[in-house]
């Protein structure tokens, strides 16, 4: 079985016959962007080495400072292994996306057509927001019964607003408004997080509002890191299908990003990212010592990232029973199925109208 590899060490990643080898370096990784940087590795090889067969690699997540050469790039391309790079702060920085082998010209035309036609685009964009709100609602409803007093009331009010906004989505006439609705609900949802986390955890990790660049506190750091993982996980699923990752519907197709991944990730963030954060903080697996401050921002430390990633990987392999397929599917596979649903919609919008995943369990 192929699986993603998450590499935290720094060093040189190279092809060695039919395996990948990481020749490790020791010492601190330095920030990637210091002005006096010469572009050479921050530290020297220490003789450490890990090697793994290419057949076992689905994708690579590179959190360390990694040196690569074009032989490796060619090799990964031939093997269809995408690689995701993260910068010093744990932010997603780039993808090495191998040449597509599953692309279908006709489907791509359909995808562009659905983007260019305002009506068709809006239909899909609404479906993404609708499912994202639905899944946020599921998360809120999961915690609501345990709350009391003001917390209960505030949660109830947010739920009502959410249900109202979700119900009004069919009336929305433009993407901008859709984005605004989603942003508004998310802000209110984040305000509930201290209640979900409980007094003790919430006192250590306050949540005022979502601030990304840079993340202003621990919770923002966790959300940013989780969203990066979610984005790259979705990219790697899209890569396994005939979809073109650059043509999106809710998000504007961008030049340097795979916007379709942003669309699909909206649906999965409540399930994958938000719940991972609650779990890691409530159990204390991640605590104050796992954060670092740099240049006015707050980031997960190396140790914190490892804990997050390990939990992330376990979470992706959790399964639920899928009625129509009558089998268990992993959370990660649900992302793939989402891609397939989109392909069905693009092929037959009237007969197979897309509805985003509604968590049914």
């Amino acid at each position: 079985m192929k699986r993603p590899y998450y590499l935290f060490s720094s060093g040189r990643l190279k092809r060695q016959h039919n395996t990948l080898a990481l020749e490790k370096t020791s010492g601190e990784r330095l920030p990637d962007d210091s002005p006096e940087d010469e572009g050479v590795p921050s530290s020297l090889p220490d003789g450490g080495r890990t090697q793994f067969p290419i057949e076992s690699v689905d994708s690579l997540f590179l959190f360390g400072e990694i040196d690569i050469n074009s032989k490796l790039i060619t090799f990964l391309g031939q093997q269809g292994v995408p690689a995701f790079f993260f910068d010093y702060y744990g932010n997603y920085s780039a993808t090495l996306y191998p040449r597509e082998n599953l692309l279908s010209g006709r489907l791509r035309i359909q995808q562009a057509h659905h983007y260019l036609s305002p009506k068709r685009r809006l239909t899909l964009a609404k479906a993404f927001v609708e499912a994202a709100l639905f899944n946020i609602e599921r998360v809120i409803k999961y915690y609501q019964p345990r709350l009391e007093g003001d917390a209960q009331q505030e949660t109830q009010a947010t739920l009502q607003a959410l249900v109202r906004d979700r119900g009004a989505l069919p009336l929305t006439t433009d993407i901008f408004t859709l984005m605004a609705v989603e942003g508004r609900i998310r802000d209110r949802y984040y305000k509930l997080w201290p209640h979900f986390l409980g007094k003790e955890v919430a006192s250590k990790f306050p949540m005022n509002k979502r601030e990304r660049r840079p993340p202003s506190n621990e919770l923002n750091a966790l959300i940013s890191f989780g969203n990066s993982l979610c984005y790259s996980t979705v990219v790697r699923q899209i890569y396994r299908t005939a979809l073109d990752p650059t043509i999106a519907f809710l998000h504007e197709p961008g030049d340097r990003r795979f916007s379709l991944s942003l669309d699909i990730a909206e649906i999965f963030k409540p399930l994958l990212v938000d719940r991972a954060i609650f779990r890691l903080l409530k159990t204390g697996e991640i605590n104050s010592k796992h954060f670092e401050k740099h240049l006015g921002g707050c980031y997960l430390s190396d140790a914190g990232r490892k804990i997050f990633v390990q939990h992330w990987d376990e979470r992706l392999s959790k399964t639920v029973h899928h009625r129509a397929l009558d089998k268990k599917v992993s959370y990660e596979r649900l992302i793939r199925l989402e891609c397939y649903k989109l392909i069905r919609h693009l092929s037959d919008p009237a007969g197979n109208t897309y509805q985003g995943l509604h968590m049914w369990w």
Binding site: K2, L102, L103, S104, G105, R106, L107, R240, T241, A242, H322, A324, L325, V329, R336, L337, Y340, K341, I343, R344, S347, D348, A350, G351
Partner: protein, 182 residues
């Protein structure tokens, strides 16, 4: 428009006979990612099972309505006039038979026979099961193949996919199952 460049092959005939929707996906260039070891196994069978023979012959022909046809034949024994097709298992054997009949039809339409004038026959090989099955092209098959080719040509210009099969049990062994029902 697309039908201009359409060339119908044996695999597509097999797909069509199993499920028109499957053929439609395939006509759209939509393939499922091959994740299982089954594909590697298929390749291995292909390379190792039968070392000596004429392998991978390509034949072209035209259907009576002018549609270009193409066959990529696994292996042929020209002396005995037998086309071979190697398969892993017998789960879609009817599709396999039709694929082979289609190749025989291509030979027929090219006027190719054995040296003594006897038409070619076919043989399905299942090395893993240690079984073979003889396949012949009968008169009633010509018309059937002609109809299938015409149906596939119109499928190729059909905007939306045909419906899913009503017999859901069939889909359980189809590689497109998650695409149709996921």
């Amino acid at each position: 428009m697309i039908s201009k460049s359409l060339r119908i092959g044996g695999m597509l005939i097999g797909y069509y006979r199993l499920c028109p929707r499957k053929a439609w996906w395939s006509l759209r260039g939509i393939a499922m990612e091959q994740e299982s070891d089954a594909v590697a196994l298929g390749r291995l069978l292909d390379e190792s099972s039968y070392a000596r023979s004429d392998k991978h012959l390509e034949i072209e022909a035209e259907a009576p309505d002018g549609t270009p046809l193409v066959g990529k034949i696994d292996r042929a024994n020209l002396k005995h006039g037998v086309l071979h097709e190697t398969k892993k298992g017998r789960s879609c054997e009817d599709a396999h038979r039709w694929q082979l009949r289609f190749y025989l039809w291509l030979l027929y339409r090219n006027g190719v026979t054995r040296a003594d004038g006897v038409p070619f026959s076919g043989q399905l090989d299942y090395p893993l099961l240690r079984r073979t099955e003889a396949v012949f092209l009968e008169a009633e098959h010509y018309l059937e193949l002609e109809k299938n080719v015409a149906a596939i040509s119109s499928l190729a210009i059909q905007e939306i996919p045909p419906p899913v099969l009503t017999q859901r049990s069939f889909c359980a062994k189809c590689s497109f199952e998650e695409l149709c029902f996921g």
